[in-house]
Homo-oligomer: 334 residues x 2
């Protein structure tokens, strides 16, 4: 086919060489090759995961490109940590929106490179292509984990305690604010929520703890209640949670005081990227104490019981009802 390129645009090869080769893994031959070689370390398994983020769904066209890159990386990092792995390599499929220009790419690559350095991961390669509409970024991530220590969603047992990192619902309410909601919320709270939507905080410090104690684990990407239900379903158990034990930030609490339906959004909305895990309750004290030197907390929020489904009890001891327990990224935009 006779490709008619806009004169003003850099070619795919130049773009890769200029902006992405500088942080490539040595097995990737400076991204001059069409694949990369990985040499596994003995007694080590790999954890592989892939997540995509799309303009208009997970981020907005006007978001800073470096932040979009960081988000694309971080949504994958939380998956690796949740399995007990240490992140190692990424492969990037960069779907260029019709409005791309070199400045956008430069900022995107800078953000990605900085976060790769920060989290100790190297680029193995990938692909760039035109989407014909908005930007889409799909990152495949490979982590290392000592042999046979991978922690899946399957393995929660009755009487296990349930834990979550950080706080729940900030990003979902950040999106709500971004879409024009929460108009009367104070500036400080708004900033916190918007920032949490823009930039997940993957809890990489947790990986060792997960390997040591967790009976099951996953990251919360589609909403706390729905994701806990998925964990229970995979493990063949049920969960009982008290609302009062679910960690909510001051910003989320302020939003809930303002609009009571914000609570449902916080508990069932997406993009938390916190880690949800279960462990034998005998280990609770050690688990809860382990985060003393980290910049986030671990909270014990409930208990695994026999049965199926998830029950969240409100402060009056009544079971809460949810219209949607989680956000379905394959569904329609709301």
């Amino acid at each position: 086919m006779n490709s008619k390129q806009s004169e003003a645009r850099i070619s795919e090869a130049q773009l890769i060489r200029k902006y992405f080769a500088p942080f490539a893994n040595k097995g990737a031959f400076n991204l001059k090759d069409d694949a990369a070689r990985l040499s596994p370390v003995p007694d080590t398994d790999y954890v592989i995961t892939q997540d995509a983020i799309a303009e208009g769904i997970h981020f907005f066209a006007e978001d800073p490109p470096d932040q979009i890159a960081r988000k694309a990386l971080r949504v994958n990092l939380s998956d690796i940590a949740a399995k007990g792995g240490e992140p190692k390599y990424i492969s990037l499929a960069l779907g260029l929106g019709t409005e791309w220009n070199e400045e956008w790419i430069a900022a995107f690559a800078k953000g990605l490179q900085e976060d790769c350095t920060r989290f100790g991961v190297e680029l193995t390669g990938g692909d760039t292509f035109s989407t014909g509409s908005g930007f889409i970024i799909s990152i495949t991530k490979i982590g290392e984990i000592p042999k046979n220590q991978y922690v899946s969603r399957i393995g929660a047992k009755p009487a296990d305690a349930i834990f979550v990192t950080g706080s729940i619902g900030d990003a979902a309410l950040g999106l709500k604010a971004r879409l024009g909601g929460l108009k009367d919320l104070d500036e400080t709270s708004l900033e916190v929520l918007l920032d949490r939507y823009l930039l997940p905080r993957p809890r990489m410090e947790l990986a060792r703890l997960i390997r040591k104690f967790a009976t099951s684990s996953m990251d919360i990407s589609d909403g706390f209640v729905g994701d806990l239900e998925k964990l229970c379903d995979a493990s063949g158990v049920s969960a009982v949670v008290n609302l009062a034990d679910i960690p909510l930030s001051d910003a989320v609490s302020a939003a809930v005081r303002l609009e009571s339906n914000a609570l449902e959004t916080a508990l069932s909305g997406g993009d938390d990227y916190e880690i949800l895990f279960t462990a034998n309750a005998d280990n609770s004290n050690e688990i809860l104490a382990s985060c003393s030197s980290w910049d986030f907390n671990i909270s014990q929020v409930g208990e695994i019981v026999e049965g199926e489904g998830v029950k969240v009890f409100d402060t009056k001891g009544e079971v809460m009802e949810f219209k949607n327990k989680s956000y379905d990224h394959s569904g329609e935009r709301s």
Copy 2:
């Protein structure tokens, strides 16, 4: 966010369980987990590669979904074979276009499953998401290769012979026909070209030969001339090719007789997914003979020399000029 789903649509979780879990790798926990565990075999390296195909760029909205799935897989398989690897695992990011329905997914999954079985690969997981426009499929592929036998684009040496598999230009002319060109071409030739555009034929049999003989290797995805130039650039050498030695199918030859500019399209258009490699010329006879039991040929098309760039000599001994040496998938649609 409060996800408002269309009643008629299956959820992401149901969709994965129903259509994709049946051909998942056992390290993927029936796709109930958010990642998968790979356990590397001793003395084996991994080859990793990622390619994306997008509606309107690499396929058309009206193409059969099972064929789209096969194409998405096969464009990755040729990369693995070109490096000397045996395909093993895939991870799928499935970007659903606005027009998706369960019937589309079912057909897509069926095509993917059949080709996974055919080529011996297993699904480790991935992600589904809404693109807000057309379908986009990004597949990350992992192959196995005996330790230190990976073949990159870097390593072609002066006096090496240059080889290609199959025939060149069929898919690019298939696309031309698809877009309304080649109107006077005979029905049989048209069918051949259209089919080659729709469905690449990855040359997996070649992997052992590549490991044994190739000094450099890559798959041809963006056009023969441009991709040979990339190989030369990575290896720091130049190439001399005679047009008469480039394998053209009867269908391509018929198209070129009809329209002289079809030759440039054939040699510089994308989507061949044949393999281009170099080897010591002393091994030519053994290499050329090795395909006797396969359903495709290997052709010796030229020689590596010192210098840079690629020269293609036409049948009169003159150097051919190309307006575009390759198709840039990040560029504008033509």
